[in-house]
Subunit: 334 residues, 2 copies
DNA sequence: TTGTATGCGTTATCAC
DNA sequence: GTGATAACGCATACAA
């Protein structure tokens, strides 16, 4: 029971006929319009329920000109950082009855643009999370993507709202911390070339490198494996402290160090970015620049929502991250 | 440039008028029907391009009766295991021009059903990943959810295809491994009560517990924090080996053990399930039951695709996991 | 090969 | 308050 034979698809008209009212009335009832006689409304609801009627969302979308869907586009869904942002958007959007479509661009800048455009046709708005697309290209397609909001990226020329993190500030905190611990030789595990955040961190790193210090940049990437592979090379630079592009690569490096018997932080200190959940449970626990990941998503939604409903747009926001000092950093070996 | 003024939304009719053909022809061209004069087709394409026309996917969905969208519903998007399944589905679906909507039920069985139904209205089919919903309830709404495929779950009474993992086999491998190492006191960090996989593992665990062994079940959950919290209690049972419901809780426990100075595997061995990427990079590296996560997603898609196109349905498949022995397990302390 | 007409399921604008 | 009716943008029989 419960299952059984059924009309393949029950439409608003079937309900209308069964309830002996017009389709318009059924529509009003389903949308909780107040302009319907309460008694009639109840009857319609019962009929609808008994028939198992559920409005076709696609048709609604067409008729109303909005789908109730937004999309979040991320470079790598496997990164807990982006998942948190996604969760933030999802939660916030859900509270306003919006659903979230997620699209993974797999760190491919070319595809990102295509995906964004294609996705935009199915949803009411976009959240572009750390987009890898060039400024110019983003500018070129901006109008076709609107409304959208940028996370971790600022593109001059568009009036798209942006929520971001002041990574430079985080970098300064890291360098101050490492300096205090006596480190003078730093290696940076560089992220994806197309990542603007990577550029940002790198530049801040360079700016914060004093004359008494050296900074070596090691090509890396954004995944575990990248950090694992780069760990050796980082060590070869003679660095006593390794700063990872993000927590994932930092943890990858941590894994390699453990494997080859390099003590952390005894022999080398390790720092990450983002403060993903896993960073708290590694051995040693990872010192990292903590960013309010979910809040980024929430704020992104607020702005997207404002655009969707033509409300006043909150100003761009930039979060100042906090250095979370844990076990993976220590004084330089004497 | 690139941006600038333009008709808010350009429809097929505008293209038709500009190209001096009928809307039907434009439609045919956009859908690459062969029955169009090549010369005409090119003209239409150029006009469409110059106007920046892009078909409204919502309208297409309504007209064709299919959206080109499928949804994956997971209990916890934060779990790398489900992300991998999701990725598998996404990749496979993309190759057939389907897009994937992802929905997180946040481990809430009640909401899962609602979400599934609501989501189903927007997509052509569903992948239910480790659904927490009761068998009966799932049966009740099965017809409203079809077509759908189950991952990590088998519901008798539905003819929904299922792709799953033989966790019992994995459990036996774990117990054999631990037995060989001399462990006789095992603690199991139990997962969400609604998780069928958890039941499966627990039962297999009990079945594999010989008279010479004891098995203590410690209430836990599915997140890092759960494992972290449960670690103490697991230790208090006197166990020399801790089996986590999944890798995430196992890593959480690992973190706690490290924090309180309990050596792994010296004092206690730890085992997980799934073999998420992080398991390879922890210290010590986590011994775990490795399941082909992405392949689960791929196989799920194959079945969903078959249903969508009314092709012959591949038989249900059950993967036999492989025990990945790494550093977190060792001989019992003598 | 191309155009015309109709339908997809709902919402919204009108009259009543 | 309620009911026809016209969009919404596109795809597709059917006709030409």
């Amino acid at each position: 029971m419960g299952s059984g034979d059924r009309p393949e698809t029950v439409t608003i008209h079937q309900v209308a006929k069964a309830a002996e009212v017009s389709a318009a009335t059924v529509s009003r009832v389903m949308n909780r319009r107040q302009s319907v006689d309460p008694v009639l409304a109840r009857r319609v609801q019962q009929v609808a329920a008994s028939l198992g009627y559920q409005p076709n969302e696609v048709a609604r979308g067409l008729a109303r000109g909005r789908t109730g869907l937004v999309a979040v586009i991320v470079p790598d869904l496997g990164n807990p950082m982006f998942q948190s942002v996604l969760r933030g958007v999802s939660r916030a959007a859900a509270s306003e009855d919006y659903r979230v479509l997620v699209t993974d661009s797999h760190e491919l800048p070319m595809e990102e643009t295509l995906l964004a455009r294609e996705t935009r046709l199915r949803v009411d708005g976009l959240v572009l999370c750390s987009p890898r697309t060039h400024d110019q290209e983003l500018l070129d397609i901006a109008t076709r993507l609107e409304p959208f909001v940028l996370v971790n990226r600022h593109v001059i020329g568009t009036d798209a709202p942006a929520v971001s993190v002041d990574y430079a500030s985080g970098v300064r905190a890291v360098m101050a911390h490492l300096g205090w611990l006596g480190h003078t030789r730093i290696a940076y595990l560089s992220g994806p070339v197309a990542s603007v955040s990577n550029q940002e961190r790198l530049e801040a790193l360079r700016a914060a490198t004093t004359e008494a210090m050296t900074l070596d940049v090691v090509e890396c990437g954004s995944m575990h494996e990248d950090g694992y592979q780069a760990a050796d090379r980082a060590l070869a630079t003679g660095a006593t402290a390794v700063v990872g592009y993000n927590d994932v690569v930092a943890l990858g490096a941590l894994g390699k160090f453990h494997e080859i018997g390099v003590s952390v932080p005894g022999h080398v200190s390790v720092v990450g970015f983002d403060d993903i959940a896993f960073a708290r449970y590694s051995a040693p626990r990872l010192t990292t620049v903590s960013v309010p990941q979910e809040e980024l998503g929430v704020q992104a939604w607020h702005r997207l929502s404002a655009m969707l409903h033509e409300r006043e747009l909150p100003a761009d926001v930039s979060f100042t991250p906090r250095l979370e000092v844990r076990g993976s950093t220590g004084p330089v070996a004497s």
